[in-house]
């Protein structure tokens, strides 16, 4: 507490110093954190002179003080700098206190590093240990909830499933809203072709994320650049934020050997309860009774409890009797026999039980690292295998990483980091709209026996489906980042970076004849798809770092070249003689093979960049950056664009009047403005490209060409989307930085949105890619960390973050709709000026028609006869919002918003001696989910329904409380997209709880054995009715956020882990 006063006192003394004789001073630097230990390598200087030295191996120093100088400054990275008056002393002990605020921490920014205290932009950092807390197997899940303003959403709970990361709200609805990933300085995972797909995968929205190919254990830290001042140096790719990943390096000292292992069991977090066979049969009979009563149908009940015999040739064949069970029969399943000796079995099934299982997971990591002043090395290997909670799903990954560097001379350093990863993902078809395993399990009639091979028109037998469908994605990624760095003069260095990457994805898909996708006459459908992506990056950077008195200058200038080459092929074949080889040998298909091959994708980027950081008096910080990008994706006159940014920060804590207040331990104000771009359109998108369009004039195909319908009319004027962002932030610290708070406000506006705009279909096209409209994101971010207990046996830290973002569309010519991903929800995502991306649009329900007179009170039905009006009894009444007496599209209104009001998380770390307990709570508030699953709850076919729908169905008795229309066996009901499908998606989740124990030096040669028990996804508090509110079927499609469409249920898992340090 008195530290500031003391420093102030010293400074004042320093100012008043007179000229005195030269004296020799000796001393010792002590480590305030470890009493009794000394610090090696601390810098001891006399400010304003060249006099000074470095503490030796025992922490001692000795040097001559210049004449009249008595102030010495002792500093060391990670410790608070001490200024001491040594007048009249010849020996002194200086105790350096650890800098808990990590103010000297080095932060990686684009094309360089900075001290955190010198930052002007908004950069959030997460350490590898924090990333790994909770035991996520991939980087994206590790990031979830941990950084303010960074929203991480999984597509669904499938192992290996895609994750979308949005920094400070979505900027665009057509182009990618995903941030740029930089690994060890080089852009990573930029493959625009993405996940390989063949025709056999059509309708399957499952995507993987490039971050999957990184092992969290190899990561030292991650920086997320959020404001324009930080991201503008990445120019045309900076608009969505930049995630900079630094992989682990070796630390100086003796070799460190680590090994860790984890074993996990996973269980389904929540089931959606559907009808049991008995209730289902009752429901089906009721549906037919209703059809007979209300719709004049003549169909008999499907569950009658009677024997049936085929009738042929004018008589019944009594030897071929089959038993048609009654609902009650399912209460007492088993064998039934009739008077003719026919035997039949009554049996139902719980299809969800047939597809779920307990999933096992194991993970092993080993690493060796070390280093010296000559360089460092780190080697690591890992293996992860995760079985999903749905049969035949899982994820397996192994990887090898090497990170080495060497000082060749005292001025030349070379290094490389290289990562090889092999991942295999077994998908089932989830996250899809029409067929798929989850859909099958939920709607397949429960009155069918398990072993039945039935593939109904509605869905396939789930037990067969889960075994008959294979969808395996094999990926290999090799990524290397190498550099040579020359220190030309003490203040000037040149660095040449070279990045090479290779990604290879192979996907094998097979749907057997027992799946809907492969049922007769398709007779098995196989698909093979391959994507490869090669990338090359060259960066030549010149960095200047010099201090001139009170002026400090750090500048970087560079030229970069990037190139990507991608290829993709796929083939699909059907009609296999049998399902034995599951399409492994696609040549076994009897016919109908489709071969697809896309022309090589070539994307090149050439850039010039520069940034200047100027610091005045160590407290006024200025940054300016410029980048000019040229991209091959645009036409001649639109190829080049320049992006500028500027920022200013004031370290108010270094002002004496602030220090005099003796209240803050840190106070810094930041403000920035800049522009960034998004070139997220594919290669050749601005060209008028034709497709083969053939026609069989006389039975054989002739070749022809046509425009590509989905691309729409050509638009040669396409250009970058530009995002302008203002950021104002404040960093606060109290109580010696035990309590730290960062608050950031931002306002960013993206103009010239690249988007597919719906155009009148009478043009022959349905859409066109144009630059039109703006998206604004405005938000507030709070990050708090509090060391409640810092010293002693008990340590307790809690940290949290809270983010608000308001998204708004403007500048559109008129309302438009996101390109539909789902056929029954064609126009549900409204894009309207003044409203956010993710605005849900549809009809509003107004209860049910309870009787004929209520039907007739609707003007449109006033003239109906009794028999016709009766059909509408028990049907949904939609609200006639414009009062014209009819339900038309003009009666649609805004029925939801998938954007949260805010997102938050709270992490607690509590430790006592060698025990530690940590947990994380994370959630979103105020967001809606479009529960597309409910569109299959039609109350009008043989599909099974959730218990809640059955209990809420309309009957004359339950008319008042009905939530669903009457059950019917007809097909005439028309469902409109209404507020029925919009649910509150707010949730609070306990993401993990970990209890750990470190057993220090248990045996000779072993430093530590750590044990941990972790529970993931322990509980979720939510009103959402389906599996999991953390769902986003649209994946990285920013235009359709917050949809749940037969998502894979999330698992609750329990992990036991051990880790050894040698």
């Amino acid at each position: 507490m008195n530290m500031q006063k003391w420093i102030l006192f010293c400074l004042l003394l320093a100012c008043n110093m007179g000229v005195e004789a030269q004296t020799k001073i000796t001393g010792r630097v002590l480590d305030g954190a470890n009493p009794g230990e000394t610090l090696i390598g601390a810098s001891v200087k006399v400010p304003g002179t060249s006099a000074g030295t470095i503490s030796d191996l025992d922490g001692n120093f000795q040097f001559e003080l210049p004449d009249g100088k008595f102030i010495i400054q002792v500093s060391m990275i990670g410790y608070k700098t001490q200024v001491v008056n040594v007048k009249g002393k010849t020996t002194i002990d200086v105790t350096l206190q650890e800098d808990a605020g990590m103010m000297e921490e080095v932060v990686v920014v684009g094309y360089g590093t900075m001290k955190k205290r010198d930052l002007t932009g908004t950069v959030s950092q997460i350490k590898g240990d924090d990333l790994r807390a909770g035991g996520a197997t991939d980087v994206a899940h590790g990031l979830q909830g941990k950084i303010a303003g960074v929203q991480v959403q999984q597509s669904d709970g499938s192992p290996g499933a895609g994750v979308s990361i949005t920094v400070r709200g979505a900027n665009s609805f057509t182009t990618s809203s995903q941030p740029l990933y930089i690994v060890d300085g080089i852009p990573f995972g930029t493959d625009p072709n993405g996940t390989p797909t063949s025709d056999a995968n059509s309708g399957n929205n499952q995507q993987t994320s490039p971050l999957q190919m990184l092992n969290p254990n190899d990561i030292e830290k991650i920086e997320v650049l959020k404001d324009a001042s930080a991201t503008a140096i990445y120019g045309s790719r900076g608009a969505n934020g930049v995630v900079i990943i630094t992989t682990r390096k070796g630390q100086s000292g003796k070799p460190k050997v680590e090994a860790s292992m984890k074993w996990t069991t996973q269980h389904i977090g929540k089931k959606v309860k559907t009808l049991d066979p008995y209730t289902y049969a009752l429901y089906q009979n009721e549906a037919n009774e209703n059809s007979r009563y209300y719709e004049n149908s003549t169909q008999r009940n499907p569950y009658r409890g009677e024997w049936t015999y085929p009738y042929t040739g004018g008589s019944f064949i009594y030897t071929q009797g089959k038993y048609n069970p009654s609902p009650e029969d399912f209460l007492n399943p088993g064998q039934r026999t009739d008077e003719y000796g026919n035997v039949d079995v009554v049996e139902g099934a719980d299809w969800q039980d047939e597809i779920y299982r307990t999933g096992w997971q194991q993970e092993y990591n080993a690493s060796v690292s070390g280093g010296s002043d000559k360089g460092w090395y780190a080697f690591s290997g890992s293996y992860t295998k995760q079985d999903g909670i749905i049969k035949n799903t899982g994820y397996e990954r192994y990887g090898l990483s090497i990170n080495i560097a060497r000082h060749i001379t005292n001025w030349l350093e070379i290094g490389t980091s290289s990562h090889f990863t092999n991942a295999t993902t077994d998908f089932q078809r989830t996250n899809s709209e029409n067929t798929g395993i989850i859909r099958s399990a939920l709607i397949f009639p429960p009155t069918v026996k398990e072993e039945t091979d039935a593939t109904d028109w509605l869905a396939a037998n789930p037990a067969n489906y889960v075994n008959g469908a294979t969808d395996q994605l094999k990926q290999i990624s090799w990524f290397s980042s190498s550099y040579a760095e020359a220190q030309i003069t003490p203040w000037l260095k040149f660095r040449q970076n070279l990045g090479l990457g290779y990604n290879d994805g192979h996907r094998n898909t097979y749907y057997s004849r027992l799946c809907q996708e492969g049922k007769s006459p398709i007779n098995g459908k196989a698909g093979k798809a391959t994507n490869t992506w090669k990338s090359f990056t060259s960066e030549s950077l010149l960095t200047l770092d010099k201090t001139f008195g009170i002026h400090k200058l750090n500048a970087v200038a560079g030229i970069t070249f990037e190139s990507g080459r991608g290829e993709s092929q796929s083939m699909t074949a059907t009609n296999f003689p049998n399902d034995l080889t599951k399409g492994a040998d696609i040549s076994m298909a009897l016919d109908r093979a489709t071969v697809k091959s896309d022309p090589e994708t070539k994307m090149n980027l050439e850039s010039f960049l520069a940034r200047v950081n100027y610091t005045l008096l160590d407290k006024y910080l200025f940054t300016a950056s410029v980048r000019t990008d040229g991209s091959s994706a645009f036409q001649e006159n639109k190829k080049w664009a320049t992006f500028l940014s500027g920022a200013f920060a004031w370290r108010a804590i270094d002002e004496t009047f602030i220090q005099d207040m003796n209240f803050f331990s840190n106070l810094k104000f930041r403000v920035s403005y800049g522009e960034t771009g998004n070139q997220g359109i594919g290669a050749y998108r601005t060209l008028a490209v034709l497709q083969a369009a053939n026609y069989p004039y006389n039975g054989t195909l002739s070749n022809g060409f046509s425009m590509i319908d989905w691309r729409g009319p050509q638009n040669p004027d396409l250009k970058w989307e530009t995002t302008a962002q203002v950021n104002a932030g404040i960093d606060l610290g109290w109580l010696d930085n035990r309590l730290q708070l960062t608050v950031d406000y931002y306002y960013k506006k993206t103009r010239d949105l690249l988007q597919m705009v719906t155009i009148p279909s009478s043009s022959g096209f349905s859409q066109q890619l144009v630059n039109s409209g703006n998206v604004t994101n405005e938000g507030l971010e709070f990050t708090l960390s509090y060391d409640v207990l810092r010293k002693g046996n008990w340590k307790w830290n809690f940290s949290g973050n809270l983010s608000f973002n308001r998204n708004r569309i403007s500048g559109l010519d008129g309302d438009q709709y996101a390109t539909a991903l789902w056929s029954k929800a064609d126009q549900v995502f409204l894009q309207r000026n003044g409203y956010p991306i993710g605005t849900l649009y549809g009809y509003v329900e107004d209860g049910y028609y309870d009787n004929i007179s209520e039907v007739r009170s609707n003007k449109a039905y006033a003239g109906l006869s009794d028999a016709e009006a009766l059909r509408y009894v028990g049907e949904i009444k939609y609200r006639d919002l414009n009062g014209d007496g009819q339900i038309t599209q003009d009666d649609r209104t805004i029925i939801g918003n998938t954007n949260p009001d805010f997102t938050y998380s709270l992490t607690n770390n509590l430790s006592y001696k060698n025990f530690n307990l940590s947990f994380m709570l994370q959630g979103t508030q105020g967001n809606d989910i479009l529960n597309y699953n409910l569109t299959d709850v039609t109350m009008s076919n043989i599909g099974n329904i959730p218990v809640s729908a059955y209990e809420g169905r309309w009957t004359p008795e339950t008319a008042v409380s009905a939530k669903w229309p009457k059950a019917t066996a007809g097909y005439t009901r028309t469902w409109l997209v209404s507020n029925r499908y919009v649910e509150n998606g707010s949730y609070l989740r306990c993401k993990y709880v970990t209890l750990g124990y470190d057993w220090l030096k248990p045996l000779k040669g072993i430093e530590k054995i750590g044990f941990s028990l972790t529970a993931n996804n322990l509980f979720t508090i939510t009103d959402y009715s389906w599996f999991d509110p953390d769902v986003n079927a649209g994946g990285q499609n920013a235009a359709c956020p917050g949809v749940d469409s037969y998502s894979y249920p999330s698992a609750r898992s329990f992990t036991f882990g051990m880790n050894f340090v040698f």
Partner: protein, 589 residues
């Protein structure tokens, strides 16, 4: 000092290398050039006869991919009519008049046709500027584009009424207002007239089989005129339709109801007011006659047993058809699957799946019993794969004659002896009064491989028989009764129906009788060729004919229709984006 020099040298080299690399990359000018070597662009198609052919083929291609390949065609043209039926999962929405309930089907007509138009316009623009091509070939290619464009507008104008007409020249204005029905027809007529002079005749050496020809343009023009003429006929014009409720009685006692003759009064057809019916019929007659007289190529009716043979699918009677290819995964057509069903394997007696769409019993009963169009043109026995185990099959129709032959019993249950004829094969035949037993056509049976879901059954858009019946219709309205009966009889006698006559027991002795007979003949001749709905619409008797069924048809498909069913709803995406269209067709959202 030496080390210092070495250091400097190395640094200089190193920096130079870096700079050199940068210069090399930046000086290769193509670094950010876009080089679409693997892609075809407009320029690369070129200027030649082949290039013109490629643009033409690319336009035809739209007919299959994506009008027919998703199964929306011929469904959208066919299912909303009186004599057609099928299972309720297939017919229950669009086929029951709920056009917006299945908007992907309904909208396929709009999107498909406008897609075809856009391609035709684009192709024509490219062909127009070609110089390295013979005038004849160029004219033919342009003529084909005009023909396809007119065909697309004709399909739509009958369904939607007023339509946006797309400019033929390149434009960036994608919003076009609807134009009146008569303006759309004027545009269609102009295109077809030009096409009929530009295109090859089917007798020209350069004509290629499978393409539309001058005769198709002339024949279609005759039909276009007749369509306008019939719609423009005065309200109250009488037409007798043989129809009625599907069944008499209820429950297990129900039987197929006999045909009831209902004389309907024509309604005025919206959009055709003010057109001169007689002048239009005169043009229809003139154009039909020119086709008949061979002015636009050589056309003849095939003998009935040759008509639906695969080998004859491009014979001259088929003036314009959708051409198909067997078993292609992209260019696939489900006509065979929909109307016939495909077999479990080739040569099998069992239908694996499909064969859902058929005609009703009333349609069947329209025919003379010896008429080849039901004797041979309708399936009388077939077996589904589910009937393998019980060794059974279906027969059709459930009348005394066929019931006795198939089961040995008559409809009253009297035994007549063992099954006979095609039914004497040991299989138990039975009948089911629902969608399983309809009058399934045999038109699309003959295909290369009948055990696949995308067999090569061509779908006819315009047959010479149609032109002849248009001619007969026009002559009847123009008062030339004997010419009308002559041409009606050319169609009837081809399939062994009793010739119609102006005298005798079933004399067509009034204009109304002849008119009704010709319309009925069209229903019989062009069954399952997506023609019936459009006859009912143009004659203004759609609502009367549909509602005469009094509810549901043989298979339980709801046939009751309202005013709004006269026009299809305009697709929502068009309404949302085309600011010149302020409201949908009457009755639709």
């Amino acid at each position: 000092m030496i080390t210092k020099n070495i250091k400097n040298t190395i640094i200089v080299c190193f920096v130079c290398c870096g700079i050199a690399l940068s210069f090399t990359l930046s000086s290769c000018k193509s670094w950010i050039e876009e080089d679409p070597e693997g892609l075809v662009t407009d320029e690369r198609v070129g200027d030649s006869e082949e290039a013109a052919a490629a643009w033409v083929t690319g336009t035809y291609s739209k007919l299959i991919y994506d009008m027919f390949c998703w199964g929306y065609f011929p469904r959208v043209l066919e299912f909303d009519a009186d004599y057609i039926s099928g299972p309720d999962w297939l017919f229950g929405t669009f086929g029951a008049g709920n056009f917006q309930g299945e908007s992907d089907v309904t909208d396929a007509l709009w999107k498909g046709c406008y897609g075809l138009i856009a391609r035709a316009n684009n192709a024509e623009r490219h062909i127009n500027v070609m110089s390295n091509i013979s005038t004849k070939a160029k004219n033919n290619a342009i003529g084909e584009m005009k023909f396809l464009r007119a065909f697309a507008y004709f399909l739509m104008v009958r369904a939607y009424g007023p339509l946006p007409i797309q400019p033929e020249e390149a434009t960036t204005e994608y919003t076009q207002p609807r134009q009146s029905v008569s303006d759309v027809y004027a545009y269609i007529v102009r295109n077809l007239e030009e096409a009929s002079t530009l295109m090859y005749k089917n007798t020209d050496k350069a004509y290629q089989v499978g393409h539309a020809s001058a005769g198709a343009a002339a024949g279609l023009l005759a039909k276009v005129y007749a369509t306008q003429a019939s719609a423009a006929m005065p309200a109250g014009t009488e037409i007798t339709v043989r129809t009625g409720p599907a069944y008499d009685g209820t429950g297990s006692a129900r039987t197929y109801a006999p045909l009831r003759s209902v004389t309907m009064q024509k309604n005025a057809v919206s959009g055709y007011e003010g057109m001169d019916a007689m002048a239009l019929y005169q043009k229809a007659a003139d154009w039909a006659k020119m086709v008949i007289d061979g002015k636009y190529g050589s056309y003849e009716l095939l003998a009935y047993d040759q008509l639906w043979k695969k080998a004859n699918c491009n014979a001259s009677e088929f003036m314009f058809s959708l051409c198909t290819v067997s078993g292609d995964a992209t260019y696939k057509v489900s006509v065979h699957s929909q109307y016939e069903g495909y077999m479990t394997e080739q040569g099998s007696d069992f239908i694996q799946e499909g064969g859902w769409v058929g005609c009703t019993r009333h349609w069947y009963d329209l025919f003379d019993s010896q008429d080849l169009r039901i004797v041979k043109g309708v399936k009388h026995r077939w077996r589904a794969k589910t009937q393998r185990e019980s060794n059974s099959g279906f027969y059709y129709p459930q009348n005394n004659e066929y019931t006795i032959a198939a089961t040995g019993y008559d409809l009253s249950g009297n035994y007549f002896g063992a099954p006979t004829g095609i039914y004497a094969d040991g299989v138990s035949y039975y009948y089911s009064q629902d969608a399983q037993c309809l009058a399934f056509t045999t038109k699309y049976m003959d295909v290369t491989n009948n055990a696949i879901n995308n067999a090569d059954a061509n779908f006819p858009f315009l047959r010479y028989a149609d032109v002849m019946l248009v001619y007969a219709e026009a002559q009847n309205e123009l008062g030339n009764s004997s010419e009308a009966i002559d041409y009606l009889n050319k169609i009837r006698t081809r399939s062994n129906a009793t010739a119609a006559s102006a005298t005798g027991s079933a004399a067509l002795d009034t204009q109304v009788k002849r008119r009704s007979a010709i319309i009925e003949e069209r229903a019989k001749e062009f069954a399952c060729e997506a023609d019936r709905r459009w006859d009912l619409i143009r004659w203004g008797i759609y609502l009367q004919a549909m509602n005469a069924i009094g509810g549901s048809d043989d298979a339980g498909v709801l046939k009751t229709r309202q005013e709004r069913n006269l026009l299809f709803p305009i697709p929502q995406p068009e309404l949302n984006t085309n600011k010149t269209i302020t409201e949908n067709n009457p009755g639709w959202n």
